[in-house]
């Protein structure tokens, strides 16, 4: 079993908030998640619906809001990591009280990982991996916690 942790995933993150958010996504040609707390894949990143009029967009490109779009567009500086390997969900049972193995490919979840608020996204195209994003001030701590699980497979409970 091989688990790998990519500690710095280079994604640009934007938060789009406001009553015109869906129109702004549509104008940019971005996919629109169907329901709250779901996400759709977009290139190497995703578009996630985090609330009634709130979206988190992750991609490789910078995004300039056009003057016509009314919602707030805020750049986020989340620290993003990628945990890869067939048993990534077993590894996270060490750090997260949720059974993340039930997260379907393309699934989006917001939970506490090792006590840190985080968003979790399982890309549909690479279901044996999980993207984790969180406040960068917790980066060193969460990196050490995840590395300790990745380096010591004996800590992972047999499933």
């Amino acid at each position: 079993m091989t688990l790998t942790l990519e500690t710095h995933v280079d994604l640009r993150l934007w938060e789009l908030v406001g009553s015109g958010a869906v129109d702004a996504l549509r104008a940019e040609g971005l996919p629109i998640p169907e329901a709250e707390l779901t996400a759709v894949e977009h290139g190497p990143g995703f578009v996630a619906c985090t609330g009634r009029n709130g979206y988190l967009i992750a991609g490789e490109e910078e995004w300039q809001q056009s003057p016509q779009t009314p919602p707030w567009l805020l750049q986020r500086s989340d620290w993003v990591m990628r945990l890869s390997g067939a048993r990534w969900s077993d590894a996270l049972t060490e750090l997260c009280p949720h059974d993340l193995g039930r997260l379907p490919p393309g699934g989006w979840f917001m939970a506490a990982v090792a006590g840190v608020n985080a968003w979790l996204y399982r890309p549909a195209s690479v279901p044996d991996s999980l993207l984790l994003g969180f406040d960068p001030s917790y980066g060193a701590y969460l990196e050490s916690m995840l590395q300790s699980v990745v380096r010591d497979p004996s800590r992972i409970n047999p499933s």
Binding site: L37, T50, G51, P97, H98, M110, A111, A112, G115, N117, A118, W119
Partner: protein, 90 residues
């Protein structure tokens, strides 16, 4: 592990929540000091169905829940309109 079963985001560990206290109607601006002190310091401790603020940290959402404080069962998520009296911005 104690869990809070929220009808909107599902069953979540209580450690992901911050308790915001009972939803209470604030006293009017010209209320006597005794009423303001009562609002600030006194709580009903008897088991009941209580309207409470709960903040779910990972999703950044505030909820108003009606929770039976005896059985710890969440009976209802209260729409914000129903507690507008406690939300000055609504």
């Amino acid at each position: 592990m104690q869990q809070l079963d929220c009808p909107i985001i599902g069953r979540r560990p209580i450690s992901e929540f911050v308790y915001g206290g009972e939803v209470r109607r604030p006293p009017p601006g010209d209320a006597p000091l005794a009423d303001v002190a009562d609002h600030a310091f006194n709580r009903t401790g008897q088991p009941t169905v209580l309207r409470e603020w709960w903040f779910h940290r990972p999703t950044g959402r505030w909820f108003v829940l009606e929770r039976n404080t005896l059985s710890n069962v969440v009976e209802r998520v209260v729409p914000p309109q129903e507690v507008a009296y406690a939300i000055p911005t609504l």
